[in-house]
Symmetry: C2
Subunit: 151 residues, 2 copies
DNA sequence: ATTAAATGTCTCGAATTCGAAATAAATGAG
DNA sequence: CTCATTTATTTCGAATTCGAGACATTTAAT
C-alpha cells in the first residue's frame, strides 16, 4: 500500500469525497430550510431551539459548542429568539458571569408542533439510503470527522 | 418493515446522521482553511481558482453552479480575485450577456504551488477512513444527496 | 420582423457569521 | 488577602452570502 498508484487513488477519492459531502449536506439543508421557513425560523434559530427543547437550559457558550457557532453569534441568535418570545435569558445563580438561555412556554409550544414534522420530513429527505446504510454512515463519518478534528 | 419500531429507528438515525455529517464537514473545512490561509485565500476564493485551474475558462453563472453559490456571490468573489490578479474577466465572443472568468498566469502559478499541497493535506485530513471506505462513502453520499435534492 | 419571455451579470440592502476588544466575575498562586 | 490569569458574555466592525431589482442581450412565438 501507499505505492504511487494507491496514493493517487486515495488523493482523488479524498477530493471526490469532499465534493459529495458538501453537496449532500447542501441539498439536505436546503430541504430543511424550506420546511421551517413557514415558521419564520432559519436553520440556526431552529438549531438553538432544538437544543434547548431537548436538553433544557444551557449557558450561551455551551450552545455555541453544540451547534458549532462562535459565542458572539449565539448572542445574536438568542437576541432574535428573545424578541420572538421563544427564549429568555436567566442569570446563573452560581456564577454571575454566566447567562442561561431558556425556552419559553411559547417556544415549547412551537417546537412541540414543529419538531415531529421536522423529524418525519428529515426521514423522508434522508430516504436515499436505508437504515443499515445510515448506521454505517454515522459510524464512518464520525471517524472521518474525529480524525480531521484532532490533526 | 416500516412498523413503528423500525420507523423511529430510521428517524433517530436520520437526526444523528445530520449531526455527524455537519460536524465532519465542519472539521474538514476548518483544516483546509488553516492550510490555505497562509496564501491569503478563503475557501470560496480557493474553490473558484480550483475550478478555473482544472476546467479552464467558465461563465460566472456556471462557476456558481459548480461551487454552489449564488451568481451575485460569484460576482463578489471574482471581483476579489481580479483585484489580486489571479483571475480576469473576458467577454464571451458568442453571447454578449456572458462573462468568462479566466485564471491568469499568476493564478496558475499560485495554484501550481498550492494545489498539490492541498491534495496531500486533504488526504491526511481524510485519513480517518481507508480507500475502500471512501469509495463506499462517495457512492452512498451521492445517493443521499441526489435523493434530497430531487424531493 | 416584432414582441414577449427567458437568460446572464451586476448592484444594492439585509442577514448572518466571525474575531478582537471591552467588561465583569471567578479562580489560582503566593 | 491580593494580584494575575482565566472564563463568560456582549459589542463592534468587517467579511461573506443571499435575493430582488435593474439592465442588456438572446431566444421563442407569432
Amino acid at each position: 500500500m501507499n505505492n504511487s498508484g494507491e496514493y493517487n487513488r486515495d488523493s482523488d477519492l479524498s477530493l471526490k469525497l469532499l465534493v459529495v459531502l458538501t453537496r449532500a449536506l447542501e441539498s439536505i439543508e436546503k430541504q430543511i430550510v424550506k420546511n421551517i421557513k413557514s415558521y419564520k425560523l432559519n436553520l440556526t434559530e431552529f438549531a438553538v431551539l432544538e437544543v434547548l427543547f431537548h436538553k433544557g437550559d444551557m449557558p450561551i457558550q455551551k450552545i455555541g459548542q453544540k451547534i458549532l457557532l462562535a459565542t458572539s453569534s449565539i448572542t445574536y441568535v438568542v437576541d432574535k429568539l428573545e424578541n420572538k418570545n421563544y427564549v429568555k435569558r436567566v442569570a446563573s445563580p452560581t456564577d454571575r458571569r454566566v447567562i442561561h438561555a431558556t425556552i419559553t412556554k411559547e417556544g415549547k409550544a412551537l417546537m412541540a408542533e414543529i419538531f415531529p414534522k421536522h423529524k418525519d420530513a428529515l426521514t423522508e429527505i434522508m430516504g436515499g439510503v436505508d437504515v443499515s446504510e445510515k448506521e454505517w454512515l454515522v459510524e464512518h463519518l464520525k471517524r472521518l470527522g474525529l480524525h480531521a478534528k484532532n490533526l
